[in-house]
Symmetry: C2
Subunit: 570 residues, 2 copies
Amino acid sequence: MTFIHDGKEGFAATALAGFASAHPRHVRHVPNGVVRSTAVPSGKVSLLVGGGSGHFPAFAGYVGPGLADAAVAGDVFASPSTQAIAGVARAANHGGGILMGFGNYAGDVLNFSQAAERLKAEGIEARILPVTDDVASAPPDQASLRRGVAGDLVVFKIAGAAAEEGLDLDGVERVARHANERTVSFGVAFSGCTFPGAPAPLFTVPHGRMGVGLGIHGEPGISEEPIVPARELARMLVEKLAAEKPAGSDGRVAVILNGLGASKYEELYVLWSSVERELRERGFTLVDPEVGEFVTSLDMAGCSLTLCFLDDELEAYWRAAVDTPVLRKGPMQAQASAAAHHSVASTEAAISDASEESRAGGACLAGLLDDLAAMLAEAEEELGRLDAVAGDGDHGHGMRRGAEAAAKAAQDAARRGAGAATVLARAADAWADRAGGTSGALWGLALRAWSEALSDTAAITKQAVANGAAAALAAVVRAGGAKPGDKTLVDAMTPFVSTLRDAVDRGASLEDAWDEATGAAQAAAGATAQMEPKLGRARPLAARSVGHPDPGAVSLGLAAAAVSAFMRKP
Amino acid sequence: MTFIHDGKEGFAATALAGFASAHPRHVRHVPNGVVRSTAVPSGKVSLLVGGGSGHFPAFAGYVGPGLADAAVAGDVFASPSTQAIAGVARAANHGGGILMGFGNYAGDVLNFSQAAERLKAEGIEARILPVTDDVASAPPDQASLRRGVAGDLVVFKIAGAAAEEGLDLDGVERVARHANERTVSFGVAFSGCTFPGAPAPLFTVPHGRMGVGLGIHGEPGISEEPIVPARELARMLVEKLAAEKPAGSDGRVAVILNGLGASKYEELYVLWSSVERELRERGFTLVDPEVGEFVTSLDMAGCSLTLCFLDDELEAYWRAAVDTPVLRKGPMQAQASAAAHHSVASTEAAISDASEESRAGGACLAGLLDDLAAMLAEAEEELGRLDAVAGDGDHGHGMRRGAEAAAKAAQDAARRGAGAATVLARAADAWADRAGGTSGALWGLALRAWSEALSDTAAITKQAVANGAAAALAAVVRAGGAKPGDKTLVDAMTPFVSTLRDAVDRGASLEDAWDEATGAAQAAAGATAQMEPKLGRARPLAARSVGHPDPGAVSLGLAAAAVSAFMRKP
């Protein structure tokens, strides 16, 4: 159980702020993350690591000389947004390019990739490094599909040491990928975990059983078995990983025995006694083994074993000096530096000049987003119910938070004189940043692509709107990889975009074209929106659905309807 | 829950071995503990810390330059024995005397005090330092009765820094006592804890409630209240400790926010955000605050806040460089040293020469202890049942383990040619070492005092036996502080000793005198021993008891009966 909190909202952000405040020698707090508080040589490659919260010391505890330059944190078990990642990356940029390390999860891949694209567009060279060490999540011939667990620490440690030594971005990336290819983990869980303030666990493990290979967010493992004594558990973990020993390995291994959060250090040390013996009996040479909590999973009980099959280069980087809140070896010593305190303002770009027509368009978009946010707020519970059938039930929550943040950012930008393109781009970033999850990231991408079809100098045209819709769909398909029929947002977005395009092309007004497109989207989503004309709001009705409607597609239909209503307002 | 173990037996010892193996840069494993693996200047005062296991990183995680020289570990939640403490102290002796730091619990006070006496008798100057920081356990005017919790770390850190600086034993003790007087802690617990392999928790906290001031072994707290949000919890903890601010404090405080084991680091950081604000709002200046797990309690969920009201001297020692597995600051860096590897054999004394008569007496004593152990093994369950009425039900277990170990050590010493005094002294140490708990320590003391009335050169006389019995009683009363009628071992031992003395003095044979004394002991214990003449064994029968017999007194009666039977054997 998680007992100490002020509710789920803000838990991750408050924990991060508390961590930063307790570790001034190592880190400085920036929006959504921490960066080193120590002096860093100009031109050094920066290692940015991150992912969802709830995994402490991953990832903020890894920041310091010899390891990461910065960590970005999402909400509990949720990827940080593209904007959050890019913002922390800007604050951690020392001119040598940025390598972004994270565990291989869909939301993280999406957001870190997008952030890298955005940074490249700004002239900051950025690469991504998804860690894929969990052998329980895919067979060896599909190793690139594996999830990332406690192997994160080994891969990041080695990459951080290479960056510290002065390798360039190509060099650091090569070493990091090599370390990732040689790193494997396997674990078991004895209990589920509970979100701060949640009335029930996210998932459970039956009494007396253990989930073998269970993921750190409860992802399916290999099997469920009766709990075995520590000696047998050690053998099981070592055997599984020993089978992954690559050709040419001479048996040198970096080792991490990791606790998931609720398993005691004494338990880990009892297990370690057997793990060490099992490894030595198989001829392995243990190099700087670490036993402790390195990648946790809220209050899950369980553990994992990680091996990195070392060669000379990897061993040197694994042994290299490091000083972070969670890992320290050698003479390196973090010392907070006043010079390292860049202005936090550097994480945000400025607002460019705009024409009067475009500013009017921007103000109009801001008003439209207010109405859209109000409609989604009203539909929050029903969207949550739809989502709970196949998902985790937080779709309505995410859509409301995203739309509210987008509306607020749009109003703010409009007040500061931004044109239509900038207003929508700011709204897009804020949406992705606050909504969280994959759907938040996709909405952010879609709106940002749409904004690029607009401009800060010309008025909004119906052609530009239709082009923007097409660009938004293309962005969602490119990033999310979904095809029509996959039961996603794309199912409603595809007919919406084609209908809008056709209607605009045959000369319909924007209002008529939008209405027609909205109808097409709702029909495809398998749900109608029941309009309340007075308020211009709607609630989704799954009346025409065959099977269950996808909540993402339903939200799109609702959002489109909100825009229709806005356009028809006197 | 504790999921990773190979059963309760050996859990603490295996965890200690695993810890030592994972931290070769800091520690070296010795029987029952760890000592620094780093070079230590000759003549330096040694700081030995310790207590029961289950509190990791207390106490082994505190060993390293700038903090402790050694840690001794008992079984889970059980004091280490006098012998264990003395043994680790010998291995940690650098010639400057030894300060022994531990939390203020009866078993620890008893065993560390006895160990200090024993070391002094060997010419090693030793002092004890019970830490008394838990404000929930006694009011300010009885501060010396308070229990020790996470304040341990602050007091030990300051004492360790003073020792590192080169202060002599008087100086280190003065600084440590001063730190202890200025250190206060207060905590809450949200759940109980479970022994490794135990079918049920040791105690529980009702769902949705928190034990305010609950001790780290489940000792009673101040109240039980509904769980409050982190913000309110922070205020409650800070208010309670702020009220303890001593006159003359300028508001500088060392701070520890400690997690009990199952509370996540993220929870602690959320709480820290509020604790820090509350402290600053009250005008405190925070010096090197630490947030994390420092004194845990198996898998208990909960936390405690510790403040040490600093002056210039305490602040300097608190800020001083340190490098241990759990705490590191400044440029200090532990580096294992081959020179520091004393022989582990140095923890044991040699066997001195003995006369033939005394060796025969020693062999006889070893045989006697075998029978005594067999009888206690048979009575284990029933003694456990007697103990479960008012205690934790482990009296029978402890007596069996103690007696078995004593018999084994006696046989071993007798085989190696030891005289009667040495055989009994070795048996005494082994008993205390393996039995655990307060009664184990008292039996160890009693037999050791008895052994001092015997000799390695003369035959055993009935006068020597009677003198030994009186010395044993005096040792038990001195160490345990119990009076007749307190429902302890003393209730049976007092009439035993006086009856034995009187019978011997009036000329009875040892056998007759012993029989008479045994009868007096059993009558006083409120229990008779039902003899099975063939085996010479007995089972306790509480037939004549008014109220419930004390298990300690019953065991004494049983042991006396076993000796009677041994003496009457053909």
